[in-house]
Symmetry: D4
Subunit: 252 residues, 8 copies
């Protein structure tokens, strides 16, 4: 351990085993050196309570397989996002017990039953059918991280009654994730109805001046409802992850 090592070094100096100069050299970057001998992935699980998640976009299938195998070897669970068809097939072949979900473009593999770590329920709301992949990615991430998850779909603001009739579900949620494209107004409306944190996820659904989700993002950042926080465009994983942290019963 760090502290022991430090004591050891100082005792060597006190006892004359080393001199000031070499101790000085030794102390220079000490607090970090020790951390270095741990494994990257292991360490993240320790620090963050969940192992590294593989972002599949821009990685070759070979790279994805390699990293996945290391995570599985350390006990998982394994979650790969932005999985192409090719990578999904390769992962399925390599891990036949895993699940390749085409809608959310994820692959995951659980090596042990997921324990419920949450205080309450996470509600994932999507404004339209086309926002479903992002919502699904959030839902899957939250479930893998030990949360009870409910979903509400196709409740965009142009038909506000669809949302209002599920008010009970809204009120029961501990944390809400709201995925919406186009004008991204749904989080504001939901935010006006509940007293729980809302994670708004802009999606790239839209055309023209939606600018690939920018309009939705700006709408959400400027929400007139309090309690709305925002993640990157199409970042369902990030929303599910943050929702899990918010819902977690206790520190890891």
């Amino acid at each position: 351990m760090n502290r022991e090592k430090l004591i050891h070094i100082l005792e060597d100096l006190a006892s004359g085993k080393t001199d000031v100069k070499s101790t000085l050299h030794c102390l220079r970057n000490l607090p970090f050196e020790d951390i270095g001998c741990a494994r990257v992935d292991q360490h993240r699980a320790l620090r963050k309570g969940f192992p590294e998640v593989v972002f599949g976009a821009g990685k070759s299938t070979e790279q994805i397989l390699l990293i996945s195998e290391r995570i599985v070897a350390q006990g998982g669970p394994l979650l790969v996002t932005r999985v192409s068809q090719e990578a999904g097939d390769a992962l399925t072949e390599r891990f036949p017990n895993g699940c390749h979900d085409r809608l959310s473009r994820t692959f995951h593999l659980i090596l042990a039953p997921v324990e419920n770590l949450g205080r309450g329920m996470i509600l994932i709301i999507s404004a339209g059918t086309s926002d479903l992949p992002v919502a699904q990615e959030a839902a899957l991430t939250a479930r893998l991280m030990g949360n009870r998850v409910e979903q509400l779909v196709d409740v965009g603001v142009a038909g506000i009654h669809r949302l209002l009739q599920d008010r009970k579900l809204l009120d029961e949620a501990e944390v809400l994730v709201v995925a919406a494209g186009m004008e991204g107004a749904l989080p504001s409306v939901v935010g006006g109805l509940v007293d729980r944190p809302i994670i708004a996820v802009p999606t790239s659904v839209g055309y023209g001046t939606s600018f690939g989700g920018l309009a939705a993002l700006l709408g959400m950042l400027n929400s007139c409802a309090s309690g709305v926080v925002v993640v990157n465009i199409d970042n369902g994983f990030g929303a599910g992850y943050a929702a899990s942290l918010m819902n977690r019963r206790e520190h890891t």
Copy 2:
């Protein structure tokens, strides 16, 4: 008149009073020349059913007074928008019967009672208190152009119930103008409730990523509700003007 003048020219040629060459020269741009002798302002009132409106921003008080006097001389009504305090004072001094409205930063002067030219009522909705100047400019414009106008204030989407309780007013409107800043989501919600055209006016209310109204503008252009059309940021006048055209009983 144009047609008479044209006949005249041709008769001169037919009767030998002129020759082909000079007639040719005379005909070159004929349809426009005639229009030229009319007055700019008069002509606009003829073409558009309302005289030129003075956009006060970027004009000196002297220029504003000069143009205003010409419009008044031709029977008005006079409407000046974006009036500074200084210009408003000068206009009030020059036209003591006029009205300088500080909220909407307009000055107007009616020389004859405004006749109701509309089919129904125009409803002007503003999301927050800070959107009122823009809404007021729209309301005043629409009233000056001969419309019955109602207003609904402070009904932003973060408290959707405030809007829903005035549903009757929404249903009665022939045309709706909705002014909102920040995320600009109100037109979408209103658009989901009524079957009349909605003119969305983004306002520059907000900060940070509102980018001076850009977030609201994008939100409105990407509205998932059908029947929503958009004007420039803070363009209350344009919204009131367009609403008037939509509400007008018959062609001018």
Copy 3:
């Protein structure tokens, strides 16, 4: 129907068939619950006077077929926009009486003759040949919604005479839709000529600094002509829809 159902519930209470408690339960959020157990689309037709329109982009052919069938089952009319060749073929196979218009990339199916609901004629103007798909989408939408529609093509501002010679058509229109790409100047010129509302549709036609229609959009939002309102880039459907609302003889 909604109203009938509500009356029925209340009559049951009045006649003692149910008690206050169960009626109370039944009425909780009634206006929404009722809609919930009915179909989303039905309700929209009630509220907006036209059933839900299927935005085909980003939906799988299966999803499009599924939604289309539900709309047709409820009496239609069916309108699908942004139809890919594949989806168009599938729709044609499924609804042989429907029409797949490749130019506007729409599919529509009418189950009953379209009744003329409009006060006058809607004129759809397109600046160039390449703007035709957007103009056509607007025209088709407006026709399906019960309007008389005329079209004027290839009358861009670089040859202003082409527009001026059809001035009579301009004057007859009750509402005008103007689709233009590149600098998007046509709505301003048209707006200076007529006293009716103009719905400007920026198109993504252009290159370089047209930025996918942004230049045209900004041009239209900054139009110096009054009475010009704007919809999203390439949103022919939205323009046709809004024009229909403006032209509609009476509230639905």
Copy 4:
């Protein structure tokens, strides 16, 4: 109360005091009408667990005073953000027991001791001295909403050791708010160290390509650390509010 009123109406019908028709009329849109006759602010406190907060920017001192008085009259607490010197002076004169904090540009008034409603501690971190006003606004908001708050200042990423030495505080926090301008990298570094939700607040501190906080905002939205969520530029209030919701022991 709402429910009581509804029961009353139904009992009247059940007992024959009214008939179906008038009850029907009475029920149309009922859930909102009732809210309408109550106060806007009251309702928000009910729905969200905290009364309306006054956003002072763009409101006249008179408007701020007026709204503040209504909130105080209903028991407060009162929180006004973006308070100008002039408005602060007027508020201080009107509410001598209140506190005008010049650093965060807020005014608040507590009418009753603030009860601790939180599960744990909220840690507010600011990258540089210039980010302090935003951090302070967040801290003040969170304290007013019943949370224990700690602050860590001047721990920007260019001197990462300053942050690392306070690791214990980081680990103890239930929720973290991180305010940073310029490149906005601090939330990513903090996010890599803790397993709790992090609310990143971009500040407008910087120049040139900071574009008024846009660089920091983009940095935070693209954070490679999981669990980071973002609010609008300089939105210290929103961050403090959201942190309160995340830290709250139970639903209001």
Copy 5:
């Protein structure tokens, strides 16, 4: 003069007054050195046919006076653009024969009658009253550079007849400068009418989505009319300068 000086040096060598070595020293990188030890401005007049023009913005009054004096000392003409009131007063005091034009914010001083160097007439068109300062700067620059200049004002596209009636003037122009703000559509319309080069000058006139002239700039760059070229926003000087080069009878 530069050329004379060069001839002089060579004649001295030819006549034996100097030797090769000292001439060599004198000529080292002659085109530059000479300019270096002489005046920057002289060389520009040689290369470009007009002395350096002083861009007044961002320079202190002292700097402006200093540079102006050097230009006047070398025979002028002197043209200072973007002149503040203070700088204008100082220049007027220093050069009582000069002219401080407040509309175009320029100061100029002619030391000798300006010779007409142009092939024909340069026509400067401005869309609205607010575009006049920019148009005036262009006109003044072109006149100073030896051109016959005509101006056409307030002929925006919303009243296209105003432009068409001056078609004759359009046809006579050798080069046209068109200044317009807002949607910047005027150059396109003019460009469709004439067969001469058109220099489009976007102005910062407008608000909201005009983005300080960006909308006009984009409109002009995307002009569907051929023969339209563009300069920077509000760059009246640049337009007048380029028009002069295009109109110049022969190379300088």
Copy 6:
């Protein structure tokens, strides 16, 4: 021809072959009607001195062929820009005497020798090899429009000596077209050397922050050299066209 046709109509009236009424009918809005019943292109040739040029992008091969045939039928010359391989093949098959230039992606067909209409030489400069297609489009356009054209390639500012050694060619040019991508600095450097108008063409050559030519465009618009005017990104045709107008000996 148009003018001949008009003279003919008037002569018929003068000679009594027709009467005023039928001539009147014939002349109704003559400049337009004539164009209407004849071809759009004819009129443009009259107004602008060159027939319509076909912008091939976004047009089907069928549309391109159709329009091309009409232009050829009226005497041409035919110029089609942005020609795809497919369209180029179809055009070549249809017009075997035409020329499909793959570098500039143009197709042209001359039916009569091109007469030199210019005062001097147009010099087309390109900064790098990748800018050649745009430069070539400009050169070809200018040649087709009756100009003597010279080209200078690969003379980017990173090797300024390459440009300087061709100074003589620079000095001889009547008009210069400078195509450059990346930072687009070449027009500034050229502009400092000559006293003739320079048409700067930003190209989309580059990556990352070149943003598809935006960096070059901004560089050119902000050129510190006077006499530089700008066209749209990659608009070689527009540059060649404008250069032709500037170089033209006399009005058409």
Copy 7:
């Protein structure tokens, strides 16, 4: 000094003056703790070879004075950038031996002669007079950090000969800093002439589409010359700092 202090602590332990436990306490996270209880700046001087520089913008005069005093107390040198007139006066009053340079808006105070630490000369080039403040900030920073600095002013690309005649100075420089606004082309031209690293500093000099230095920034990032690196807009300090690091004879 920090290093001395550390040696001292260790020597005390080695000589038995303290024991392991108290040394341990003293060293706990030494690199940080020391900084924490001592001064932030000390550590930076150790790590970076230069003490913290005070960025004056957005800090109150009181804050600036406070921080400055701490830096001076530790031996300086003191450098404050973006100094307002007020702050400059206060600093001058507090440190009468310091120098408030109004051009570069800096204040500095040297407590000991600056030792030359550089391998060669740093050349600071500015394109125009208005770029001088930024260039001066760079020069002053580099001088304070122990470098020989030369400056070259007003050598913009529109008069390329002005640069070329100082070629010798260019060749002698070890590192070059080039400050330019508007199109920012100068670093490209310089980059083509030398074989040393060039730090390009975009300045906010310009108007319209210069967008506050964005045009210059993009130009520099897209430079076709190799060896050009870029800093933030107007970041003269950063350029001077980086140049110092590049020129430094050996590691600190």
Copy 8:
């Protein structure tokens, strides 16, 4: 040589072999003419110390081969960047001794052993696996230019300990290149740790609001760490080149 030629010309004049006029003509652009007769590529190697590097993007395989052959013919070394698979195959066939590196998409060929020209080691750091291609391009460029290069991979800020444990490598580097996508925070953290120049390379790794590397670029330009300079997005070559210039022992 230049000087000799100049002396010769002047001697001719002194001796009467030529007259003033022809000498004048001859001297006009002399310093450039001479440069002209050298080869472009040769000259760059002379000026910059490294031959022209072929930017493969946007060039045909034929063009790449042609240019490569010329460079090889002059002794190389040859470096081609952005090599497509096709171009890489063709280059490999033509130069079997060359190396096509698929990761960095480069091709290079060394004709002679690369001499170490650097003062020390260049350290190339990449934040994530996906940034490797850019880092590799930088490393390869630096090695080809005669530098000792070390690499550090996958040390993103979300796991700051990974970086800290390699602190020794950081301290040894003479120049550091840091490639990072997403929020681009790594250079700031590294910049806080070392006293050497850091070249930050934003990569296009990311999605949504990373806007193709813009977020990373802005983060790096706004770095709160001194000594960080920036190159274009994905410009690994530029970073390696600049690092080489900074590391070079002496002027070429």
